[in-house]
């Protein structure tokens, strides 16, 4: 499909792309640029054919596909290098979790001759680093691609790439993407972080250890709140306007629940608690989660 692929940033997601690309025999040669020494050593073990480059400006000929999978806050640093050594024959993509900010950066800083179409594979976990990557990470997962102007041919090529990795591809506008994922991903992460902070504050105020009783619900949130802080700082900063709005709606609803509880609004509360079951049923129907109770977790 490609001759030479360059993966910039090879953590959990980048190394999963790497592993899948090797398994699917998608290219002849893979170049990796990764600044973390420990990660570089882990990557070397994956496949002997990988060439780890030391500088982004290094003379590599005919790179036809670039996947940027660093934290989004690194894109600014990387972009001038791309302008230097890539040509109009290269397809560039990234895997960042917000898109309007990246679109803006591309418009402002990317050389007009270069082609960058944004991707967002909806996959990953609380784990970070190439150790946790997997060749099947993208299998049966959504991958959102952002519509570009006059790049139909490259859009199709990029969609084919993600489909080869097992993803279900859908195209969106930047704004639509950032709005939807503020609700389905960014708010849940922030809420998990906030719940854990609240539990920590409670522990401090009450001088008591409550973590050992976390199996009653808290433990689920602690998993999400153990995600990479650099990545999530970037997401929250980049999607701040959508976040502000959805946080306000969340607080309004929570105050509503508080009033229901304090005023013992029996039927209203029951009705609200009951309605959320529908969402779970939809998620299971859409095969977006495992059907077994408690995620099939045995602990």
């Amino acid at each position: 499909m490609f001759k030479n692929i360059l993966i910039i940033g090879c953590g959990m997601i980048g190394s999963s792309v790497l592993r899948a690309v090797i398994t699917q025999k998608i290219c002849k040669q893979i170049y990796i640029f990764e600044t973390n020494l420990k990660h570089r050593n882990q990557i070397r073990g994956i496949n002997k054919k990988i060439v780890i480059i030391k500088k982004l400006d290094e003379k590599i000929k005919n790179i036809d596909f670039v996947v940027i999978s660093t934290p989004m806050s690194q894109y600014k640093k990387i972009l001038p290098h791309l302008n230097n050594f890539l040509s109009n024959k290269t397809l560039i993509t990234d895997v960042g979790s917000t898109k309007k900010n990246v679109g803006k950066l591309i418009k402002q800083k990317l050389s007009k001759k270069l082609n960058w179409i944004m991707s967002h594979p909806i996959s990953g976990s609380e784990a970070s680093g190439p150790k946790y990557g997997s060749k099947s990470l993208f299998k049966n997962k959504w991958c959102i691609l952002i519509k570009s102007k006059n790049k139909k041919f490259l859009e199709i090529k990029l969609a084919r790439f993600w489909k080869k990795l097992g993803s279900k591809v859908v195209f969106m506008q930047e704004e639509e993407h950032d709005k939807i994922f503020s609700v389905t991903s960014h708010l849940p992460h922030l809420i998990a972080y906030n719940l854990i902070k609240t539990a920590q504050d409670f522990q401090k105020n009450n001088k008591t250890n409550i973590v050992k009783y976390s199996a009653g619900g808290l433990r689920d949130f602690s998993r999400i709140a153990a995600s990479n802080e650099i990545m999530w700082r970037d997401v929250l900063f980049n999607n701040s306007k959508n976040m502000s709005k959805i946080i306000d709606l969340f607080i309004k609803n929570l105050k509503g629940f508080k009033a229901d509880i304090n005023k013992k609004r029996n039927l209203l509360l029951l009705d609200k608690l009951k309605k959320s079951k529908k969402v779970r049923q939809q998620i299971l129907l859409l095969k977006q989660d495992i059907r077994k109770p408690d995620f099939g977790r045995e602990n």
Copy 2:
């Protein structure tokens, strides 16, 4: 250990007690009182020796242990019957998720000759009904027992019972229990319900279907928010004072995060996001959750 056990309310938790009691050969005869016809039919299939009684006043001789595992809002109805047909030789317990309210009810309505020591096994899932019960549900889980006055002998007996079922037993005061679990269990459930409601409101306001993109975080919350609404209505009403306080702390913290995001407080936000990893590490060290990333879920 006992001759005759009576389980009142035989859903997910009650039927797990039933199954564990059979496996562990804890008694000679088991009586079940369950008002749901469908559930009764499911229970009959578990073991032929089970006797399903139709009225709580039925003349059953020498019941020496009663486990009440109905929703807590049923306790008021059940209590007068207990006064009628039980003796001072019976040990009564319940499995309700809040304790101060139950303690109050016992003080006010239970005959002084009867002995009720409260239990709270920290186990269960989003599933309801005897179909989902399991003989190993309580294995390696905490079971909180509430300290009683002058009932040392019965406390030891009840602790032995839960230990036979595999639980780790700890004694607490009612107030301490309700405060701790408002943070580790009740707030996480309310927050999950509130997040799903917020996502539903967003869908309505934006006339868009976002549920299919829930793998980015929302799906975890949808599981908890699919829990039994009767049980959770009871919990939230019964623990309203602790809930009010912890909701306020949660909202205060969330407003803090919102300000951090909007004011781009880089180091402060990073520090807050980083700190919550410690809780996950503690939870894993205490074996309160599965160690594999993403709960080892393959979806």
